[in-house]
């Protein structure tokens, strides 16, 4: 039971990380100049968007 | 020759706006409104105002048709319910 739960947490974390990497990359591509502040703001925004993307995928029911 | 794109954009906006006013059915009008929004965005871009074009795109391409179509749906549903109540 606990092992299954750990696997579920791990899968959720991996999915969030994948979304976050893709969305941060998109942010960095679409802005005009790259600096540290942009990395911070883009990373935070991408984290929010990653949670939203995972929620959307779960709500739509696609595996 | 270099003014040709701006002239085309102005003509496009004028035709789309006139057609939007002349069409009376709200559903058809929502399609024409989205065309008018896109035409205005094109004209703004041709006049070197991309920021205005961005906001016009956001409003014109999705938001205006959504509000028109939702209003049409609500009005029709209310009219149908009232007719049913009269018959009952």
């Amino acid at each position: 039971m606990t092992r299954r739960r750990a696997l579920a947490v791990l899968a959720a974390g991996a999915e969030l990380l994948a979304w976050w990497a893709v969305l941060t990359g998109l942010w960095m591509v679409l802005i005009s100049s790259v600096d540290t502040l942009e990395w911070v703001v883009g990373g935070l925004a991408a984290l929010l968007a990653a949670c939203a993307a995972r929620g959307t995928r779960r709500a739509s029911g696609t595996p | 020759m270099s003014e040709l794109p701006v002239l085309l954009g102005l003509l496009f906006v004028a035709v789309a706006a006139t057609a939007t006013v002349l069409v009376r059915d709200p559903v058809r009008q929502s399609f024409l409104l989205s065309v008018l929004g896109l035409a205005l965005a094109l004209l703004f871009l041709l006049l070197h105002a991309p920021d205005v074009a961005l906001s016009q795109l956001a409003v014109g391409s999705a938001l205006t048709p959504l509000m028109v179509l939702l209003s049409v749906r609500k009005v029709r549903r209310r009219a149908r319910d009232e007719r049913r109540e009269e018959q009952a």
């Binding site: 960095m28 005009s32 790259v34 | 794109p5 559903v27 399609f31 024409l32 965005a41 094109l42 991309p50």
Partner: protein, 157 residues
């Protein structure tokens, strides 16, 4: 007026304006399909104009339209589902519009990608191109599904 601006104007006159006529007239199903084509073509026009004006920032309008255009088409499909379902299946010219959109995206984005220096600008251009293809495909499939919904499995005999 350079070659890119001329190409953008030509695409506007030969592609986006006829599609706009298709949106303004005719039955609802043709209007929805033409709306999808018009947003795709107009986004390509914006890309060509951005290159012609030598202002890469103008590409943002094409990016926004690539996201919002399919959203608008899906909106029409959702709210006019009953009108789309009533009537015969999609005619052959109408079902050819989505492949034509793909061809137009390739014809415009590939030359632009060739003249763009490798780097973030190139990736941005390719992202816009992929978004256009995906959006056009998703919206086209949604229209086809909505039209077929009125016929059921026996409508295809």
């Amino acid at each position: 007026m350079n070659g890119w601006t001329a190409a953008g104007t030509a695409l506007l006159v030969c592609g986006a304006l006829p599609a706009g006529w298709g949106v303004a007239t005719g039955p609802v199903r043709r209007r929805v399909v033409a709306q999808n084509a018009m947003t795709t073509l107009l986004s390509l026009v914006f890309l060509l104009l951005a290159q012609g004006f030598v202002r890469t920032a103008y590409q943002d309008t094409a990016l926004v339209l690539a996201v919002l255009g399919p959203a608008g088409t899906l909106l029409y499909v959702r709210l006019l589902a009953d009108r789309l379902a009533a009537g015969p299946p999609l005619s052959r010219p109408l079902s050819a519009v989505t492949p034509l959109n793909y061809v137009a995206v390739a014809v415009v984005v590939v030359p632009l990608a060739v003249v763009t220096d490798p780097g973030r600008a190139l990736v941005k251009l390719l992202v816009i191109g992929v978004l256009l293809v995906l959006g056009s495909g998703v919206a086209g499939r949604a229209v086809a599904v909505a039209v077929d919904a009125g016929h059921g499995p026996r409508g295809h005999i």
